[in-house]
Each structure stands twice: as structure tokens, then as C-alpha cells.
Subunit: 309 residues, 4 copies
């Protein structure tokens, strides 16, 4: 993993060219209108190095829906910023096939396998909610602090759509509640959860917000130690083993970076001590990860030789 | 991840002291007599750096049963040494909870989730067996080439015991055969598989044998490029996401190294471009990983700050 | 299946004696206080023949909570009385082990296996709710019409307790809603469902209410054809194959009558063309069926030789 | 359930006419050639009353492969004729969806749900095998005694084909063996099991062989009490709740008779104290039951009003 002076901008330009053939091979998330109507050939990518350099390409400043990537930031918030030990209420193991998410939750008595599946993220949000009022605003504030961009706000149309299609998440929350692993009133909790998924952000913002995971817990944007060095490493370990649903193994195999994806088409990844990188392209592969985004990250680590392995 | 000059020997000595309170908290594998009778307080650890230095402590030269760690070497053999593309017959994703191994294999039509669960390792051995005769000997030869120790041989008593308790593996093999994912005659195949698990080795040997994963695919012991640089990285990714059964997430979280464990009490791990490390202590935790060995590796990466994250 | 003149009253007296040793071997349902505090040694039994004779013993006129037995009457109501074809929204197969109720519902895309598991009964109630207003009252009215007892009312304390412990049912309803198999607003629907489970009744009432299943669909109490002959037979078939959760096979084997049980300790059964029989004793076996009640019914069919087989 | 003098022959003739439109809607079993090549429009039906009358139609004397119907006779043999209590080794509950047969066997520690699924039938055969030598011949002898037809023999071609496609059954047997619920050497046991499935018989034979279930355990063919009255009832209960794989509920609902089907296209059913009935037509529905045969039995109970409900 030697880098000398990587020409990041040059690499981004090559990638932008080389991903072109992959447009149209995936499919936008379509369970809510706001995600379905985004043009499929949008593509942006942003790199932020630990030395403070930023490299952007394409639609890197365009806003998109953060969706499940928000799970990474609520975890950072509860674990690091608020210093709560959450591991009696959520596990740290990959979830295996999607088909058995509910049976696993049942078999494991309401303890979700990890904080990056929906059930686990709902528990994390529940923990935040139980600590003080105005949870939704606090989650937004924390993210805006990390991204340094005050315009990262909840898209109310998206939040409302999420709510209308949120019966499966309501099933998860109720099942966990039946095992006493949810404390907040469920409608309130789901409202907060759907709102955190409806934050809008951009590749440039995301790369900044993820910097603490590349900088030993320190946010050069917020000028604050957000996480301990140890917790930053641990979250990276969780991302690598649990951050991409049922594609963690393939992603580790082809890309080799701790990362979190969202159905809005965003993926954020880090290489500790080197950089954070965010990519966005709305068409998803069969696992629900950005198809072009995954390809772009694979090209990135292949071209630079920079991965954790 | 800065190392300057780590005092590996000093660290090993500290670890040997600090793991002492953990003896007696785990439990030897007891499904076969040869594993059950090993003294529980055995402890050895070996480090081999990419620069060629070796550091040993405790029982690092004692022989023990390689068991599931053999899965790593048959994968290296088929993927690297024999250059076969195996990914249509075995997946690359973690397996989730143990409780559903058979249903998952059924649900996924006989394609095991990864090469490190039993079903996947049996497929890897089947691929080796279909390529030329005398598979058991070839597997032994490959391992002895990597370890540089010709005395790494099959313990026939262990192999026989495995056979006598191998009905579950026979069930897996037959189920995969019903999906046409096994080609060899099943009794022959299981015989080879049980024999590869019955190889004896030591921490010192294991650390040497794993060096290609730390050295970009090159074995400084065999003086050969065993794997491409890319395949070495990929196997490390697989180890990190799938190498410790249902404890991969916790192990990545607490240790942070690609690793493979066996019920004989061994664990081998690597930090690419730095070192390989092997540890052995026979008492297992509830996941079937060496309890003292896991603790030792956690102490090792905590003390040195050397992990992939 | 010859009966000549069975001495029903004599048989009931023998049974009352012979079940005595079984008190204390089961355990009241305890998830809600109202069920937990019922004296465990209560025992009542009522037989109502198709000729109009009634035989009672013990606490046969005592009120208890109908619980899941209400599922039988909502099914009779929707299928027979309101004449709706429900089989596109609920199956007719036994559910297999309890452990996989949620995964099965997921695997089968929100279609519950049968109308006697909770998920299926919630769908039946949803169908009733979608047909006209005031569902809870209509359900009560239908039952009171069949039992001929206007004092069979909702126990509001029980209904409230059900609500407070109803998170698992809320999970089921939300999961089915995510598959579009629930139409009513979920909180309203669950309210109706919990109220139907909280009806109070007695063995004497239950035996009367079940008579249409013994009389080719005709209720001699309501003086009405409630079901077609064919539907009465079909409901009996469903009861026999699906009426006792994960004990249908054992119950058919030892008792041999179509039956439905509830966690209040009641069981109602019928022998077509002969009689209906209700039994009540609050202590449950490990399957959630009245332990003494099951024993009493086994004694009843053994002594009389009257079963469907 | 009144019969007076049913014109059985007339009913059979009507059925033969009315099932005609259903040919071609199902599909022969095709995993072995001998089943695949049987003409799809074969149809035979045989009724044998408890009074000794026999009514035949169509291909009622043609031979076909007994397949899973043999499970009924090995159960009668072990339970009744040899008097063994088998219920610690096999359950009495329906199996739920097919998709989880292996996980259920694993979850329930190698105890199959009932004697009519493959795993359960293999255990029954294992019990027979452990009681004396020459199991395959004894199974054939018992069936020939019940059918009164010495020409009911193993089709060696079918037996061999079963063996060649029997990997899934081998997986089940090995899994049960890993839980110590199989005692015989597995290859020998499977050989016996595949041979019992390869018996040839006809509707006329089958109806005779099943008579003990209609005659309180007595075989008017063998002139012997084969089962106790109680065991005959119990087997009927098991058939009704477990005899048709994942279609037991629908079959009870539409036909209403205890029955056992086989992928050779045969179904045998009984009405206690009245008759046994066998039907054969090789095209199967999606559950693996004879499509035309199921329809014929539904017509039969609808026309005659004779069912157990």
C-alpha cells in the first residue's frame, strides 16, 4: 500500500470515462417516487484526503437522498459523540442472506445482528431518542457539523413517502418491542428514523462527514475529536463486515474498503490514514448498492492500489 | 498504522503473561478424543515478518491439529497455485448465524456461501480432486511447501475419528450433490477432506505458510509466487469477512486482521506488507474459536496499533 | 362409530374424576394478569347433541376468556354468514413449527398459512372490517346469536392488556400490510382483534355456538342456516388440520375431533352429526393448549369410541 | 354421512367422464425415466367396501410405482404388525412448507416431523431394519400379504434410478445420523428405502391393502388383525394431518378423507367403517400429488356425500 503521490484527479477522470458503459445496467430504487425520478446517468465522486485536499468529479456537488448511509452517522453519534455502549442491544455480525432477516431477529430474541441493517439502525435511533428530546434535529445537527454544510436538510417529501411505505420497518420495530428492545413509542421513533433517511447531501459533503473514520476519530471539518482512535477503527471493522447488506464479501473482495451504501445511490468509503471517498449514481444492482458507484470504487482501488488489504 | 521498530519479542512476552487468567474459561473441542485430551493451558504464538524475522513464544513449535485452517490453504492452492476460477460454485459472503447453514445451502441451490464454511471447503476440495489424482497427497505437499516443514503430516488417528463423526459433512456433500455442485464420489471426497483437516502443524509452521498473504502472494519459504498480488488481497478480504464463522464481525472489531481459525485451537492472521502471526491454545469459545488465541491477537493489535483499520 | 345410547352424563362424571391428577402439571397463560390469576384447578365441560340435549359438568357455566377460539367464529362469520371467498388472502395449510411463523409469512409474501394462526385471523378480521362499520360489535353480535347468551361481552380489562402486549401481532399486521394483505388502519384493526379475543364465554355457551359445525351448518340456537353444508364440512377439515397450532397432529392422533383451542384454557370440538363439546381448564401445556382440557377430550373419545376416524 | 345404497359403479363412471378435461394440466414426475414415460392419460380407480364389494374403473388393474404410498405400509408394519413404539424417534405433526424440510430436521435435532415425509419414512425403515435381517423382502412380504397379490414386486430399474437420484435422501439420512436417529449403515438403509418405493402395484391392490384402516385394523384379505382398533384410528389421523405433504389442508378441505399419495400418481384413501379407495393417474400437480387423482377423489366425496367431516 504505497502511494507516493497519487494523481487523484487524474484517476477520477479515468473512472468517469470508464464507468460510462455501466449506465442503464442497474435500476433506480422505485418504492418512493422521489428516488425513482432521479436521472439514472447521474454520477459524482469526491475524495477528501487526510491532508485536507479535495478532489471532485461530475455531479459531486449535486444533492441526493442519504438513505441508509445515515446509519453510519447515527452510529458515530451514539457510540462516539454521546459515548454510549450499545452492544447489549445490537450485535456486530453480518446478517447473512436477506431472506431471513425477520427469522433471525426472532431467533436472536429481538437483538439485531448489526447497526447497519434496518432493525439495528432503528435500535441505534431509539437509543439516541431515549437520551434527550428533539432527536431528529440532533441527528441533523450532528451530520451538518461533520459535513460542514448547513444546507443538508430533511427532504420532507421523501420523509413522507418513506412513512407511507414503512410497514416493514414498523414490523421490525414492533417485533423488537415485543422483545423489549425498543423503548420509544413506535410511531415517533419511525418518524425520526424516516427523517434521518431523508436527509439530502452530496458526495462532497459525505466525503467530509466520513473523515473521522480516516483520521483516527478526528473531524478536520468540525475541528473536534468525534470518536476515540479505537472506536474509529472499530466502526471501520463493522463497515467492512456489515456495511453492504448481503454484498459485504463481494465488496470487500473487489473494492477492499470499509464502506456504507444507501438506496439513494450513494456509497461512502474510507482508507484509514489516507482518505475518505464518496460516490453517487442512482441505479442500483440486485443487492441495492449503486451499480456504477461500486464499479467506480473498484476501479479506484485497482488503479491506485490503495485498499486496506 | 506506524510501526517504526516494534519490539515483537517483548510484545509476545507481555501477551504470554496477560493471557494467563483466561485459561480454563474455554473448552477443548471434544467431538473427537484426540482434540479433547490436549492440555488446555498450552499456548504458543509465532510471528513472521515480511523482512524474514521470526519471533516465537511458549509452545510455538508444538504440533497441533490444523483442522479448519486447512480451508485457507486449499483455497490458496486451487485459486492461486492451480489458477482455477471457482466462483460459480462457491460464494463470497459471510454465512450469518450457524443455525441456518443447511437451509441457506438449500435456499441457494447448493452453492455454499463462502469457501471457509464446511460446505464451501468441501467444494474447494472437490475442485482439487477433479483436477488430478492423489488429492490428499497434493494438499499435503502444497502445505509442506509453504511451511517448509516436511514433518507436517496427516494424523491418521484424527482422520479416522473425523470420519466417524462426519455425518453432518456427509449430509452437506449429499445435499450439494443433489444440486450437482459436487462431482467426486462422496466417500472418496470426504476421505480427502477429513485428511486435510487432520494435518498436524505448529504456530511456527503456520506463520510461515501464511506469508504469501502478507507478501503480495509470494512465499519467501517456497521461493515462489503462489498467488497474484490481486488474489492475495482478495483472499485477505474473504478471510476478514468470512474467516471466523459467526464471529467475523466481533473478531474484525476487536482484532482487525484477516484470519482463519480451527477447532484444534489454532488461528492464523496476517497484516499485509507487515507480518503473519499464528497462535495456538486449545480451549475454544462458544463460536469454536480459540478463546486464549483470540485474546492474544486482540492484545497484539492493541499493543502494537497494527491492524488493517 | 356406533353410539347407541351413550351415557354422556356418566362419561362426564368419570372424566371429571380422572383428570384430577393432571391439575398442576400445566401453567396458566401469564402474559396478561387477567389470565394468570384464574384458579388453575377450574374445570368445566359441556356437551350439546344434535338432538338438542345438553350435558354439563363442573364449572361448565363459568365465564372465561375466549381468546383464539374467537378465530373460529370470525371465520364462520366471514365465510358463511357474510359469504365472502377469502382464500386468495389466507391459506388452508397447517403452519408447521412455531419457530418460523414470521419467516413463513415473509416467504409466502404476506399470505398467512391458515385462518387459525394469528396472522390469518387478523386477515379474517380485516375482511370483516372492510365490509361495514362497527366491526367489533358485529363480531360480538354474531357470537351472541350463536351462543344464545347476550351476556357474552368483551372484558375491557383483558382487551386493554392484550393491546399492551400486542407488539408481536402489530409486527405481523405491519408485515402483511407491507405485502398489501391488510387494508384497515392497523391500530383500529388490532383494536377490533384484541377485543374479539377478550370476549367472555362459558363451556355451555361455546358448545351451543359451535353447533352449526355438527349440524350441517344449521344453528339450532339461532334457528338459522349459518353455513352451507359444504362450508361446515370444510371448516371442520380446517380445524382438524390447523386448529391446534403445532399440536394438530398429536391432537388428531389422541382425540380425533375437529377442534379449536384458546390460551384462556378453552377448547371446543365437534363430531359432525353427533355433538359439539366444550371444555375449559386454564392450565396450558407447552403448545398453549389446555392440558386438562386436552386430556378430558382424549378420555371422552376413548370412552365413547366417538371420533371422526 | 348417510349412504343407504350408494351406486359406487355409477359414481365411478361419472367420475371417469368428468375428469377427462383435467388430463394434460399436470405433469408426470420426471426425475427418473421410468416415471416420466408413463402415458399421462392413464386413469384407474378402485373401491373396496368393508362389506367386501369391489368396484373398478379404467386402468384399475394396471401396475404403477407405489412410491411414497409405501410409507403408509411400512408405518402399519412397524406400528401394528411388529408392535414397536416409534414416537420417540419420529413426530406426529404436519411439516409446513416444503422449503424448510432440512432446517426443521436440524432445528428439531434429527427428529422428523412425521412418518410420511421422506426423513420420517427413512426412520421407520431404519426401525424395521434394526429388528431383523432381509428388510426389503419383509417389506414386500407385508405388502403382498395385505394386497393379496404376489406379483407386487420391486421394479429393479426404478429402484436403481431412485438410487442414482437419491442424494437428497442421503443428505437427510446423514443429518439424522449426526443426531443419532439412524442406526443402520446408510447405504444399506437407503437401498431398502429406494426398493420399497419401487414396488409396483395397482389401484385394485392398493384398495385391498389399505382395508385395515377402514376395518378397525383387520385385513379381510390377509384374514388377520393387522393393527389394533386404536392404532388404525391413529394412523388415519396421521394421514389426514400429514399424508399429502404441503397440501394436507387443501386435501382435507376439498376431499375430506385420510389419504396417502405418491409421485407415481397413486393416491389411496379410506373412510373408516365404509370403504377404501385407490386412484391412479400419473400427472402431478405442483404439490406432487396426482392432479386427476385428487380431482377424482373430490368428485367422489362430493357426489356421495361420504367423507369424515
Amino acid at each position: 500500500m504505497t502511494e507516493y503521490s497519487v494523481d487523484y484527479q487524474g484517476v477520477l477522470e479515468e473512472i468517469q470515462d470508464e464507468v460510462r458503459p455501466f449506465f442503464g445496467k442497474g435500476k433506480n430504487a422505485d418504492y418512493i417516487p422521489a428516488l425513482a425520478i432521479v436521472p439514472g446517468n447521474k454520477f459524482g465522486m469526491a475524495i477528501h484526503t487526510v491532508e485536507g485536499e479535495e478532489f471532485l468529479i461530475g455531479d459531486a456537488r449535486d444533492d441526493f437522498s442519504i438513505q441508509s448511509i445515515s446509519k453510519l452517522f447515527t452510529l458515530m453519534q451514539v457510540l462516539g459523540f454521546e459515548g454510549v455502549d450499545i452492544w447489549s442491544r445490537v450485535g456486530r455480525e453480518p446478517s447473512g442472506t436477506a431472506f431471513n432477516s425477520l427469522v433471525q431477529l426472532e431467533y436472536e430474541k429481538g437483538i439485531p445482528r448489526n447497526p447497519f441493517i434496518n432493525a439495528g439502525a432503528i435500535v441505534v435511533t431509539d437509543i439516541l431518542a431515549s437520551r434527550s428530546a428533539d432527536t431528529s434535529r440532533r441527528i441533523g445537527d450532528f451530520y451538518r457539523m461533520l459535513s460542514g454544510n448547513l444546507s443538508n436538510r430533511v427532504d420532507e417529501t421523501v420523509a413522507l413517502s418513506e412513512q407511507e411505505h414503512g410497514y416493514r420497518n414498523a414490523a421490525l420495530a414492533n417485533l423488537m418491542r415485543s422483545f423489549d428492545n425498543i423503548q420509544s413509542p413506535i410511531p415517533d421513533l419511525l418518524d425520526v428514523y424516516f427523517r434521518q433517511c431523508a436527509l439530502t447531501t452530496s458526495c462532497a459533503d459525505l466525503a467530509k462527514a466520513a473523515l473521522p473514520l480516516a483520521c483516527g476519530g478526528y473531524s478536520p471539518i468540525a475541528h473536534k475529536q468525534i470518536l476515540t482512535v479505537r472506536d474509529a477503527k472499530r466502526i471501520n471493522a463493522l463497515l467492512l463486515t456489515c456495511g453492504l447488506y448481503d454484498a459485504v464479501g463481494s465488496f470487500a473482495y473487489t473494492v477492499g474498503l470499509p464502506a456504507k451504501s444507501g438506496v439513494g445511490g450513494g456509497i461512502v468509503a474510507v482508507l484509514p490514514d489516507h482518505f475518505s471517498v464518496a460516490v453517487w449514481s442512482p441505479e442500483l444492482d440486485s443487492y441495492g448498492n449503486s451499480l456504477v458507484g461500486s464499479k467506480a470504487l473498484e476501479l479506484f482501488t485497482t488503479k491506485t492500489g490503495l485498499s486496506i488489504f
